[in-house]
Every structure is written in structure tokens, then in C-alpha cells.
């Protein structure tokens, strides 16, 4: 697993809010083409960690290395500029707007010399991308509100994929979906591995974590309990790491 250098490396990350320690001494390496899952009970600090990795919070101490260069994210925009994209749990889609405008939200293409929106180009790229990722939506022109939950999730993932050069963070990507839609979204996530970017996924479903991930990182009360290769562990071990109880 260490044949290549990590895309993103967290070194001894600590985050406190006043007297509350949310994350302590957290270290993790994420590799291109690999899916790393983060599991932990409610309140273990998973969301805090995602916010640190996506630039929303800056760590109280510790280092973030991107391609082995130390980086400081001022806010989520700087993290995005460096190729880190987040698929938020609420998806952060504009419901009344068409798919292609969501894909290019905040980064719309314009023509030159008169900077009017280049809708044709955005639609074309959206169609190519959803086809490539096999996100089955009626049209790039459909409004988000006309799509199913799984299709929306697919659009949010497609957007992240389009812009991510290094890393995609997925926060509970199937929490709100039914069985068939979950399978669809999982196969989209599987497809992302071929794009040679690192994938970091938070999930409450251990079944899903075992289906999707290459490595599993366990977080309990802000402390990293350990990282396991998915192929060399089982659910019992992970559950006992999450709960802190041996069995």
C-alpha cells in the first residue's frame, strides 16, 4: 500500500473549540486511486475532520501535506483551488436550477470577449461527464427538483469529480437513499477509483464501508484508534474499535 506517495497527509492534527478537544493527534495518509473510509460513532469528530480537510476549519495544531507540501487552507475556496472537493451530506445543490448550472455553480464558463454564460459548453461537458460516470439523469437541462434522491447524489458526485484533481470527500453519500439507489451511487463511487484521485468517505453503514473501501480508519472520541486494510480485517474488529469494547 505504500508504493506511492500519499496525496494528502494529516500529521498530528489537533482541533479544540475552547476547552473542548474535538480531534487529538490524528494522523492519516490518503492515496490516489484508493478509497479510505472513516468510521466512528456519533460525535466521534468525523464532521470536524472533514471540515479540517476541506478548509472550513483550520487545525489548532498539526500539519496538512498535499503532495508532500505543507498547506494551509484559509477557507473552503483555497482547498477547492488545490483540487479538494466535498460532496456534502445535504448535497449543496440549487434545487430550482438545471443540472449543468449546478455542476458549474460558482465556476460558470463564459464566452469571450463579451463575458456571457457559455451554456452550450457547460451542457455539453455535463452530458459527457454524466455519461462517463453513468449517472442516469433525464437531461443536463433537468431541474434538480425533478430528480430522485439517487440522481441528485449522482449530480453532486459528478460535480465533485469534475473539479477534484486530488481528493474527493464524501460525507454520508447514501444516508438518505433506498437500496437500489444506494447500489447505483456505490457503483459510481467505485468508478471514481479509476480516475486516480484519492477518495475519502464517511459512512455509518459498515456493509457499505466493506464493499467500497481499501482502508478503514476508526475514530473514537477524537482519537484515531487505527487504520486497517479492508481486505485484512472484519466487521467484528471494526465494531470493537468503534465502540472500544472487546468481545
Amino acid at each position: 500500500m505504500n508504493q506511492q506517495a500519499p496525496v494528502l497527509e494529516l500529521k498530528k492534527i489537533r482541533k479544540t473549540f475552547g476547552a473542548v478537544v474535538a480531534i487529538q493527534d490524528f494522523s492519516l495518509e490518503l492515496y490516489a486511486g484508493k478509497v479510505t473510509a472513516l468510521v466512528g460513532d456519533n460525535g466521534a469528530g468525523k464532521s470536524t475532520l472533514v471540515k479540517i480537510m476541506s478548509g472550513v476549519y483550520s487545525p489548532t495544531s498539526g500539519d496538512i501535506l498535499l503532495d508532500q507540501e505543507p498547506v494551509k487552507f484559509k477557507n473552503s475556496s483555497t482547498a477547492r483551488a488545490k483540487g479538494i472537493e466535498v460532496v456534502y451530506q445535504d448535497l449543496a445543490l440549487c434545487d430550482q436550477q438545471p443540472v449543468y448550472m449546478n455542476l458549474f455553480l460558482g465556476r460558470e464558463y463564459t464566452k469571450s470577449p463579451i463575458p456571457v454564460l457559455d451554456r452550450k459548453r457547460m451542457v455539453k461537458e455535463t452530458e459527457a461527464l454524466v455519461k462517463e460516470l453513468d449517472v442516469r439523469i433525464p437531461s443536463a437541462l433537468s431541474a434538480i427538483s425533478d430528480l430522485s434522491g439517487g440522481q441528485r447524489q449522482g449530480v453532486a458526485i459528478a460535480r465533485a469529480t469534475h473539479w477534484a484533481e486530488k481528493l474527493i470527500l464524501l460525507d454520508e453519500p447514501t444516508a438518505a437513499l433506498g437500496v437500489a439507489e444506494t447500489a447505483r451511487v456505490e457503483s459510481i463511487i467505485q468508478g471514481l477509483k479509476a480516475r486516480n484521485i484519492a477518495i475519502f468517505i464517511i459512512s455509518h453503514s459498515l456493509d457499505q464501508v466493506f464493499r467500497l473501501s481499501d482502508n478503514i480508519c476508526v475514530l473514537r472520541q477524537g482519537v484515531q484508534i487505527g487504520v486497517r486494510e479492508t481486505a485484512k480485517t472484519d466487521k467484528n474488529e471494526i465494531v470493537s474499535m468503534i465502540t472500544g469494547l472487546s468481545y
Binding site: 477547492r80 448535497l91 434545487d95 430550482q96 448550472m101 455553480l105 463575458p115 454564460l117 437541462l141
Partner: protein, 317 residues
């Protein structure tokens, strides 16, 4: 998208109720008031001329509503801008007076914007307060007196005159609608305004400066009201504190009937223009039908209620 989809989308009644309503009411008046001169070109162009200031205000309001904000203060801004223009014009050249009027509108709009975007106050309350505040300011400015503005260059360019043989108010309307439509539909700024009103958090995490957008749309609404005040002054050749007073309901109704969502994320400049013409036509038709002022107000209120109900019914999810 194939041409069939284009046609069916163009005919999408849910979003285009204003055009249908316009045609129905136009047809009604055309038949009922044929002998009263409703269809004469003079009467029809009068409708367009009279609605010019409301149309300009409506453009600003489309931007504000689309971004998820409301502006209730534009009527008071109209009065302040009109009086500022007329007062300054008594001492200084026209272009300085017009600039002062525009600036006063922009400044009040920017004040609304700063309070909403950076002090995080709800725009409904902020603009409700500034509506009252600047209605008072307008009254205090000239002690309730009206100020004449009869310079023919001014009234020619901003009111009753013609440019290139076309009434100047029509030119102002066409230019403002065209520019507004292009900015709203074709620019990045327009897309960011709509995204902010649709889902401010999504816009924010996508790198859109939502607070800046809020400041800009409320400033724009103020500037539009400023221009509307100048056009009113040019048309009636005087400025008075009552200008703009009656426009709050009409402009909001025009914008909502025109397909702009009250809670943001969706709007139409062309729809607002047609909505504004619809309101002007109603006004005109009811006068020709010889309703008394109080009856006109009641009928207009009822029709607006029906129109707004129809245009909102399908939009709500």
C-alpha cells in the same frame, strides 16, 4: 433539447401565466372598451409611458427577490430621488442633478444592502424600516412642497419628450429591460444572484460571495428606484413626496405575476415587464370603464390577488 421540447417549454403555462393573463385581459378590454378608445395607439402608448417607472422598479425587484431578499423601500426611494433631482436642478446643470438623484437611490439601496448582508438583519424588516424612514425624509426635504422641473432638455430626455422620434420613456423602458434581461440571464452575476436565492449555503460553499450578492442586489434595486424617480419627475415636470407611494403593491404584483418567486431562485425580467404592463393596462381599463377611484382600488386589489394566487399555486412545492 429538440424543437418539440423547446416548444412545449415555451408554452409551459405554469411559468408563463402572465402572458396568457395579459392576452385575456387585453382581449377583454379591447372588446368592452372598443368604443371608449382603449385600442387607439395613443391610449396604448400612454399605458407604456405610464408604466415606465414601475417597470424600472420591477427590474430591480426581480434581482432582489431572486437573491432571496425583498425590497419594500423602493417607493420611498423614488420620492427622495425625484426631490433630490428637482432641488439640485434649480442650482446646477441637469447632469449633476440626475447624477445626484441616481446616487441618492443607490446610496439608500446600499444602506439596505449593508444592513442585510453584513449586520445579518432580515431584508423584510430593514426595508420596511427604511421605507418609513425615507418617506419621512422625502416629506422633510421640501416641507411637503412640490418642486417644478421644467427644463425642456430634462423633460425631453427623461420624461415627456422624444428621442429619435420615439418617446424617451419607451427608450428607457426598452434599454432597461434589455440590459436587465441580459445581465439576469446571461451573466455570471445573474447566475450567482439566482443561486444565492435558491440555496445560499450551496452558493457559499461553491465560492460565491453571497453577502456581496445581497449588497449588490439591494443597491441595484435602490438605483432602479432612483432612475424611476427621475423618470416620474421628467414626465410630470415636478417632484413631490407622493411619487412612488402607490407603487409598492403594483410593482410587487407585477414581479410576482411575471414569474419571479417570492422566496428566491427563480425570476424573469421579461415577465416583470409584461406584469408591469398588465398592471398599467388594468389601471387604464378601469379608468375607461368609469369606476370611481375607490372602486378601482378594490377591483385592482382583487385582480392582483387572483393573479398572484394563480401564478404562485403551481410554483409551491
Amino acid at each position: 433539447m429538440n424543437s418539440f421540447q423547446k416548444v412545449s417549454q415555451a408554452l409551459n403555462l405554469k411559468n408563463n401565466i402572465v402572458y396568457l393573463g395579459f392576452l385575456v385581459i387585453f382581449g377583454f378590454f379591447a372588446i368592452m372598451l372598443y368604443d371608449d378608445g382603449f385600442l387607439t395607439s395613443r391610449n396604448l402608448s400612454n399605458i407604456v409611458l405610464q408604466t415606465a417607472p414601475a417597470t424600472i422598479m420591477a427590474i430591480g425587484l426581480v434581482f432582489a427577490l431572486s437573491a432571496g431578499e425583498i425590497d419594500l423601500s423602493f417607493g420611498s426611494i423614488v420620492a427622495v430621488s425625484a426631490l433630490t433631482t428637482a432641488v439640485v436642478m434649480q442650482e446646477y446643470p441637469i447632469f449633476i442633478a440626475v447624477a445626484a438623484g441616481m446616487l441618492s437611490g443607490l446610496a439608500i439601496g446600499a444602506l439596505n444592502g449593508v444592513l442585510v448582508a453584513y449586520l445579518k438583519l432580515p431584508s423584510f424588516l430593514v426595508t420596511l424600516a427604511t421605507m418609513g424612514l425615507f418617506a419621512g425624509v422625502a416629506r422633510a426635504m421640501t416641507n411637503l412642497r412640490s418642486i417644478p422641473a421644467i427644463d425642456p432638455n430634462f423633460t425631453g430626455f427623461f420624461g415627456s419628450g422624444k428621442l429619435f422620434g420615439v418617446p424617451s420613456l419607451i427608450i428607457w423602458t426598452v434599454v432597461a429591460v434589455a440590459v436587465g434581461h441580459i445581465v439576469y440571464r446571461q451573466s455570471k452575476f445573474g447566475a450567482h444572484v439566482i443561486a444565492t436565492g435558491d440555496n445560499a449555503r450551496a452558493a457559499q460553499v461553491s465560492g460565491i460571495h453571497v453577502n456581496r450578492i445581497r449588497l449588490y442586489v439591494l443597491s441595484l434595486s435602490g438605483a432602479c428606484a432612483g432612475l424611476a424617480g427621475i423618470l416620474y419627475t421628467g414626465r410630470i415636470q415636478a417632484a413631490k413626496y407622493t411619487l412612488g407611494e402607490a407603487d409598492l403593491m403594483i410593482v410587487i404584483a407585477a414581479v410576482i405575476v411575471g414569474g419571479t418567486a417570492l422566496n428566491g431562485g427563480k425570476g424573469s425580467i421579461i415577465g416583470a415587464l409584461v406584469g408591469s404592463l398588465l398592471m398599467g393596462m388594468l389601471n387604464n381599463g378601469l379608468i375607461l370603464m368609469q369606476y370611481s377611484v375607490s372602486q378601482q382600488m378594490m377591483v385592482r386589489g382583487l385582480i392582483i390577488l387572483v393573479a398572484v394566487a394563480i401564478s404562485l399555486r403551481d410554483v409551491s412545492r
